[in-house]
């Protein structure tokens, strides 16, 4: 199978078939017209041969559809550039010794799930001793002093802790969002750090399923990590940062 990287389309079961699946709700009662509306909606997206394979009333005023269609709008993969955190992933001993050598003291890290977000799953995976999927968290690193502030921490509280603990690194997690509130929260923190004159004094990292490095940079963070990130990824990035900072040996 030879894929033309300059013209990639989705794959169903045959190269070039362009098959996609969609599911959505329309805020109208189920009817033949509603079903046709779902089909036309898919066609309007530029999809070929949309087939409404499932249509069901899910209340008196809502109907639910599953649609298959073909997408023949191709993408030139060779032209795509996605900024990612440039990272040489180090092992735990490498990270500890790099911090000891460069900093000569423990690296002080705080982590928080800020403002509206009550889901600590991400920050816990990165910071807590146990980590996730066998990847131990930052608490388990000898040269890192990590404090997990937990969920729904206000930006004011983050700033108070930066002062109180003389923090080097701030890790922010945003997991569950609604109407893009995660962007609002992240922006608020950066604005407040700048107003307090703290932004240049800390390394600021954000993580979460909706976070990309590009988005993080755009919002004024030093790095952004998405899914499948573990403590060693974040720690490796922090090592790079301290090694290239002016005070480093």
């Amino acid at each position: 199978m030879k894929v033309d990287l300059t013209a990639v389309v989705p794959y169903g079961d045959t190269l070039g078939d362009g098959v996609m699946q969609l599911s959505f709700t329309l805020p109208v009662a189920m009817s033949a017209a509603a079903k046709e509306a779902a089909r036309q909606l898919a066609a309007g997206l530029g999809l070929d041969n949309p087939a409404v394979v499932h249509a069901e009333a899910i209340s008196d005023a809502f109907s639910f559809f599953v649609v298959y269609a073909a997408c023949h709008k191709s993408i030139d993969l060779t032209k795509i550039v996605v900024p990612e955190v440039k990272l040489k992933v180090l092992t735990k001993p490498e990270i500890d010794s790099a911090i000891a050598q460069t900093l000569g003291r423990k690296l002080r890290v705080i982590g928080a799930c800020i403002e509206s977000d009550a889901h600590t799953v991400g920050i816990d995976a990165i910071i807590n001793m146990k980590g996730l999927n066998g990847h131990k968290g930052l608490e388990s690193y000898h040269e890192i002093e990590a404090v997990n502030l937990g969920a729904q921490v206000t930006c004011e509280e983050v700033i108070r802790k930066i002062h109180e603990l003389a923090v080097d690194v701030v890790l922010i997690s945003q997991v569950v969002t609604q109407k893009n509130i995660h962007i609002t929260n992240l922006t608020k923190l950066v604005d407040m750090l700048e107003a307090e004159g703290l932004r240049d004094k800390v390394t600021l990292v954000v993580g979460g399923p909706r976070i990309t490095h590009e988005l993080a940079k755009e919002l004024g963070y030093d790095a952004g990590f998405g899914l499948n990130t573990y403590a060693e990824h974040v720690a490796s990035f922090l090592v790079q940062e301290i090694q290239r900072s002016p005070g480093a040996q």
Binding site: T25, S59, A61, V121, N128, Q152, V176, T177
Partner: protein, 519 residues
């Protein structure tokens, strides 16, 4: 049917330990009140509304008394004394206080027995309204019928109460038995209850009395339409838990999240405050016939579901005792647990069965609340739907009562209309297709499931022994629940805790404990 061959003596011993743990805290509860308890008392008396600045009148009155350092006698004393002096209603008194027209502490103090006598009459009048609403709920339940267990419990969380009402009705028509309105972020830390209908929450909607009413009305309407009484839930938690209990009672909510320790552990609310607040809130919940939902599931989202399974059982036993001292009956205790074992683990489902069956057998008469997987849910919604299906199977196989439906988009966003539909549909499918499986099966004597359940019970009792030794406050300070440490004088809201004076007046406590007409 008992399947685990548990050591009944051990369970009884665990209960006894939990009772002694709660008894120690009771001494603190019986000698203190809080600003929120006092505001709840005023709400029970019927004080409603806000002042020109939007501050609830109950806050205006209680804050004034606190500033003068006289709240230790109980807000009820001062308000009732005002009624005796001025011959106004309690509401008029509160309005006059807010306008600055009356200063309660400057009025002549009437004879103690007169104040106490009128206080009792007013309290009885409030309680009779609660009994009426309770009967109304029971009547509707009988007339329309309720769903079968496991009850399908879904959440709505739009931030806009009117949108919530639309989604709640849709969910009811889709087959939901219980609808919970998720509360907006951060309300737990407000030391007042917002007022009026609201449309601007994030990740949830403000808990206000007007919002409660809008949702209950919407569900009453749809309940009649579909011929099934759909229950409404909200959060009796945070700094205002006693007041929210009163609002829930007034608006005939059916269930309320009410945990004796959740606010302490997960919201960093001061423990001395919470213990007093949760006591009064549970008195009201109990009297109003509300089923409480406790929050043990949260332990497993922070700590490991296997390592910490015993903390769930220990906490359930403590929550049970805290409910019992408020006069609650077993059928009002929706004690919590969750399905949070790592899906990658070999035989993970067997652990889940053991844990779920264990809770069921330790609390046979409680409407156990079972929470879905959240910790290991990912953006792979298709796998998520399978995880939820296994959760549904486990729930039906172990006879859980209040089944909080998992959403395939958990960990992504608050549920979309279609997410809720798919979730209800698949749960109904599972519950129907294995309806009587629970009564057909047993677990192999001495097999993995029986042994695992026995181990968790042993560990839970050992933890209760440790807690009973040092006291609950110290246990919380040691981080024995959810690996989170809270200090007795740390956290929010300690300044709202007041030592009761000898002549503290709050007739509700004794009158509710005597039971009235509550079954």
């Amino acid at each position: 049917m008992e399947k685990l061959n548990l050591d009944q003596g051990k369970i009884a011993h665990g209960r006894k330990l939990a009772a002694s743990i709660v008894e120690q805290v009771r001494r603190h509860i019986d000698t203190h009140t809080t600003v929120s308890v006092e505001r709840a008392v005023l709400r029970l008396l019927g004080i409603d509304g806000v002042d020109e600045a939007g501050v609830p009148l109950v806050n205006v009155v209680v804050e004034g008394l606190r500033r003068e350092g006289v709240l230790d006698k109980g807000a009820m004393y001062w308000v009732v004394n005002g009624v005796l002096n001025l011959n106004l209603t309690v509401q008029q008194i509160a309005e006059d206080v807010a306008r600055g027209a009356v200063k309660l502490t400057e009025l002549p103090q009437g004879k103690t027995e007169d104040v106490q006598g009128l206080a009792k009459v007013l309290a009885e009048s409030a309680l009779s309204k609660l009994r009426f609403l309770r009967k109304e709920r029971e009547q509707l339940g009988r007339e329309l019928g309720k769903g079968r267990e496991p009850l399908s419990y879904v959440i709505v969380a739009t931030g806009n109460v009117y949108e919530d009402a639309v989604q709640a009705q849709a969910a009811a028509r889709q087959g939901a038995d219980v609808v919970a309105v998720i509360r907006t972020t951060g309300q737990s830390l407000l030391d007042y209850v917002p007022y009026g209908p609201t449309t601007t929450g994030f990740g949830g909607t403000y808990a206000t009395q007007a919002n409660f009413q809008i949702l209950r009305d919407a569900l009453d309407e749809v309940s009649r339409e579909i011929g099934r009484y759909v229950q409404l839930t909200n959060y009796c938690s945070g700094l205002c838990m006693p007041e929210i209990a009163v609002m829930g009672a007034w608006e005939r909510l059916d269930m309320m999240l009410n945990d004796s320790m959740y606010g302490i552990i997960f919201r960093d609310i001061n423990m001395k405050r919470t213990f007093v607040d949760q006591f009064f809130s549970r008195l009201v919940n109990g009297y109003a016939g509300v089923i409480i939902n406790t929050g043990e599931d949260n332990y497993l989202t922070t700590a490991d579901a296997i390592d910490s399974a015993h903390t769930v059982i220990a906490s359930d036993l403590i929550n049970e005792q805290f409910a019992l001292i408020c006069g609650m009956k077993a059928n009002q205790m929706g004690l919590g647990h969750a399905f949070e074992v790592d899906p990658q683990l070999e035989n993970g489902f067997l652990y889940e069965l053991a844990h779920a069956e264990l809770v069921r057998e330790i609390f046979p008469d409680c409407p156990i609340k079972y929470m879905p997987p959240t910790k290991f849910m990912t953006g792979n919604i298709f796998r998520g739907h399978v995880q939820d299906t296994l959760f549904n199977v486990c729930s039906a196989m172990t006879g859980q009562s209040i089944h909080l439906l998992g959403m395939l988009t958990e960990a992504l966003h608050t549920p979309l209309m279609q997410d809720r539909f798919l979730s209800i549909e698949s749960a109904k499918y599972v519950f129907n297709t294995i309806r009587d499986l629970n009564s057909e099966i047993g677990f192999r004597p001495g097999g993995f499931i029986q042994r695992r359940a026995g181990t968790v019970l042993d560990e839970a009792v050992a933890l209760l022994e440790k807690i009973a030794d040092v006291g609950l406050m110290e246990a919380l300070a040691n981080g024995w629940f959810a690996d989170i440490k809270r200090l007795p004088d740390g956290g929010k809201g300690l300044d709202g805790v007041i030592v009761r004076s000898e002549d503290y007046l709050n007739p509700f406590i004794d009158m509710i404990l005597q039971g009235g007409e509550a079954e």
